[in-house]
Symmetry: none
Subunit: 398 residues, 2 copies
C-alpha cells in the first residue's frame, strides 16, 4: 500500500544489515550455515527482538539480486523489474544514463553453418574477453553511440546511447538459449524499438566480421535488453534519506536507483563499518550490504559460509554502538551451499527495536525463526515494519 499519507517525521535511524544469500539448508547434519555458525551477537539481537522468515518474491520462487533487493526496500519485485542489461551495467559501475539501452552479452562459438555450438565460448577467461571487447569497440553505428565493457569471463556489457530520438529496449534476446540453432535476429516487440533492432543488427553484423577468425569466441549473443526503470526514491516513498555501504558495484547500483547516497568503501566489512560510522549522522536509513555469505554459498563452501556469518557476527557490536533505533538483519534470498546457487527457501530475519514484541526466539537461525513472532511474511513488508518501529508511520484511518 501507499505509505505516503501515513508518513510522519521522526529523528530515528533505521539500519538494514543485509547478508547476501543468508538462508541455507542443512546438508551436513549440523543445521544450516547460520545454525552451524557461532553467532552470540546476532543471537542476542534475536532474543531482544522479533524474528521470522521472509519470502522475497513468493513461495517457490528463486530471486535474482534485483528482485531480492527491491523487495527488501519495500518495492514489489513482480511489479518493478530491473532488467538484466541494467543490472549488468550496475554490476560494473557503468554510468548508465536514462534512455540508454543496456544488454548482457556472451561471447559464444558458432560453427560454419552459423549455428551456436557453445553459448559461452568455453567460458573464456576475463583477459581474453577483455581483448575481444577492445576489438568490438571499433564498431561504429549511425545515430547510436555504443559502449562495450568486459564483465567476467565470457560476459560483457553492451550499451546503446542514441544521438537522436529516444530508443526503446523492447527487443527479444538474440541468444537462442540453446545450441544447434543460429543466433536470433534482434526482433522489435513494438514500433518504437525498431530503431534499436536496426542498430543491434548492424552491431551484430560488424561483430561477426571482427570475430570471424577468433577461436573459440567467434560470435556474440545478447539478452536482457533493458533501460533504467522509473522507481520512486526512498525519499519520495518513505521520506527517508538513505545511504548505502556496499563493497560490490551491483548493490551500489541498486541503491543509487532508489535515490540512496552511495558511500565509497571497500568490499570488506571493516571498510564498510568505518564508512557507516562516518556517514551515520547524515542519514536516517542505512543499508549495509555483506557479500561473502552469498559468494561462499555460490562456491558450495559450507564452512566458508559459516565463517562469513561468524565474521559478520563479530562486527555487530560495532554497529550497535551507533545506537540505531531499528535494526533489521536478513538476506535478499537464500544461497544454500549444498545447492551452490540462489534458492527459493525463505530467509531468516530479525528486527530489533524498543517496540518489538519479543517472541522468545533467542538464536538466529532458520528453524528458530520459523516459529518467530513475525511468522512467514513477504520481504516487501519489512520496510513498513521498520518504519513503524521507527515511529515514522501514523495510524491508518480514524
Amino acid at each position: 500500500m501507499d505509505l505516503r499519507p501515513l508518513l510522519t517525521e521522526s529523528d530515528t535511524k533505521i539500519l538494514f544489515v543485509i547478508a547476501d544469500g543468508l538462508g541455507g539448508i542443512d546438508s551436513e547434519g549440523r543445521g544450516t550455515e547460520l545454525e552451524a555458525a557461532r553467532t552470540p551477537n546476532l543471537d542476542r539481537l534475536a532474543s531482544q527482538g522479533a524474528t521470522g522468515l521472509t519470502y522475497p518474491v513468493a513461495p517457490g520462487i528463486t530471486p535474482g539480486s534485483g528482485p531480492g533487493h527491491l523487495a527488501l526496500f519495500g518495492y514489489d519485485p513482480v511489479e518493478h523489474d530491473i532488467g538484466r542489461g541494467v543490472l549488468t551495467a550496475l554490476g560494473i559501475d557503468f554510468d548508465l544514463k536514462p534512455g540508454d539501452v543496456a544488454a548482457r552479452g556472451n561471447f559464444c562459438t558458432v560453427n560454419d553453418d552459423g549455428e551456436v555450438t557453445d553459448r559461452r565460448a568455453g567460458r573464456i577467461d576475463s583477459q581474453e574477453s577483455t581483448r575481444l571487447v577492445k576489438m568490438l569497440r571499433d564498431i561504429r553505428l549511425d545515430d547510436v553511440e555504443i559502449y562495450v565493457e568486459p564483465v567476467k569471463e565470457h560476459r560483457f556489457l553492451l550499451v546503446l546511447r542514441s544521438k537522436k530520438e529516444a530508443i526503446s529496449a523492447a527487443l527479444d534476446d538474440t541468444d537462442p538459449h540453446r545450441t544447434a540453432v543460429a543466433p536470433r535476429q534482434p526482433h522489435a516487440r513494438e514500433e518504437k524499438s525498431q530503431e534499436t533492432a536496426r542498430a543491434v543488427s548492424e552491431f551484430l553484423a560488424q561483430a561477426q566480421e571482427i570475430l570471424a577468425k577468433e577461436e573459440p569466441a567467434n560470435m556474440v549473443l545478447l539478452r536482457g535488453f533493458a533501460q533504467l526503470p522509473q522507481l520512486a526514491s526512498l525519499q519520495e516513498r518513505y521520506g527517508l534519506n538513505g545511504c548505502a555501504l556496499a563493497g560490490y558495484p551491483m548493490y551500489r547500483g541498486i541503491a543509487r536507483l532508489l535515490g540512496m547516497k552511495v558511500e565509497d568503501c571497500g568490499p570488506d566489512l571493516d571498510s564498510e563499518i568505518e564508512a557507516l560510522r562516518a556517514v551515520w549522522s547524515d542519514h536516517n536509513f542505512l543499508f549495509l550490504h555483506f557479500k561473502d555469505t552469498d559468494s561462499r554459498g555460490e562456491d558450495g563452501d559450507f564452512d566458508g559460509k559459516v565463517a562469513a556469518i561468524e565474521e559478520l557476527d563479530r562486527v555487530i557490536p560495532r554497529m550497535m554502538e551507533l545506537e540505531p533505533d531499528v535494526v533489521v538483519v536478513t538476506g535478499d534470498h537464500s544461497t544454500p551451499s549444498a545447492m551452490a546457487s540462489h534458492s527459493w527457501h525463505p530467509v531468516p530475519v530479525l528486527i530489533r527495536a524498543k517496540t518489538c514484541r519479543v517472541d522468545g526466539v533467542n538464536v538466529f537461525g532458520e528453524t528458530a525463526c520459523a516459529g518467530g513472532g513475525l511468522g512467514h511474511l513477504r520481504a516487501k513488508h519489512l520496510m513498513t515494519l521498520a518504519l513503524a518501529h521507527a515511529g515514522r508511520l501514523r495510524k491508518f484511518g480514524a
Copy 2:
C-alpha cells in the same frame, strides 16, 4: 504469478498424495484425527522434509471440492471457478462437452399455491429419484437436446446441449433457497443467455406437468448453471505431463479439466497404487486422490477417519519405492469429524525432496505443522514449491 517464463526441463517426478478432507480438530481430547492416528511412515516423511499449514482459499473460507483441488494444482480458486452444474456432471462421469450448460437439480415439494414446502422432497431415495429422472427424459425441447441424470437421493443433473448456436450459462438459480415462496423463473443475466432461459422455462413447464401427480417430489429446482471453464492445462502452465489416480468421478473430472490423463482404477488404495506403479514411467506429475478421510469426516466418525489415515500411512512405503523426486502430502481442505462437514481450518502439508530445509518437525499433525518451516501458506503456492524442488524453475530476474 505466471511461471511459464521460469520453466526449465528436468527429468524429475512430482507426486501429490491428496487425502481429501485431511485436516481436523481435536474433539475428543486426543488430538486431531491425524494426530490420533498412528502414522510412522508419514511421520518419517515429515521428519525428512518441510511442513506447514495451507489455506486452500483464504482464512475462514470453507472450500468445496472444486476450489480445494484447483488451489492444490496452483490455480487461484477465486479467479477460476468450476460451477456447481459442471462439478455435478464431473461427479457422475457425465461426458460434458464444451458449450453444454449443466445445472444441479433437486426434486422438491410444492403446495397447491405452487410454493416450495420442502426443497429436497423429503430427501427421497436414489431409487425413487432414478424413476422420476426417467420420466423427465421424455421432455423434448426445440433446438436444445436435454440430458437428465440421477445423482444421489433427491439430486439430479440437467444438461442442455444446443443443436444450433452457442448458448450461455449466465442464468440465476430457479431454486429460491428458502421455502414458502414459488420457484423462481429462470432469469437471463445477459442477452446471450436468453435462449437458455427460454429452454429452461420450457423444461420446467413440462417437468411440472409430468411430476404433478407425484408425491412428495412434485417439482424441481435448478441451481448452479455452468459451462466447462477455460483452464490452461498443467502442460501449458507448468510443462507437466500429469496423470490422476482417483477412484471417484469428481476428482477424475477435475483432473481431466486440467489436461491430466486419468487412469482407470477402483476407489480403494490398492487399485490406486497398482495403477500408480503402472503409469509411473510415462508421467512426471502424479496425483493420487484418497477419498475415505473426507467420507469418514463427513460421517462424523472420528475413529473411522483415524483408521482411514492409518490405511493411507501403510501404503506410503509402496509409493516411496517409486522414488519420486518431490512428494507432497496434504488435503484439499479440512473435514473435522466433530463438524461432519468441510471446514475452513488450514490443512497440514508436508513436502519431501532433497532440497528441503528440514524443519525439525517429525510428526505429521496439525499442531506440529503449525510450527513447520513452510509456515502458513496459500495452497496455490504448493505447486510452485513442488516445481522448485523438482528443479523445474529458473531464477526470477537477474
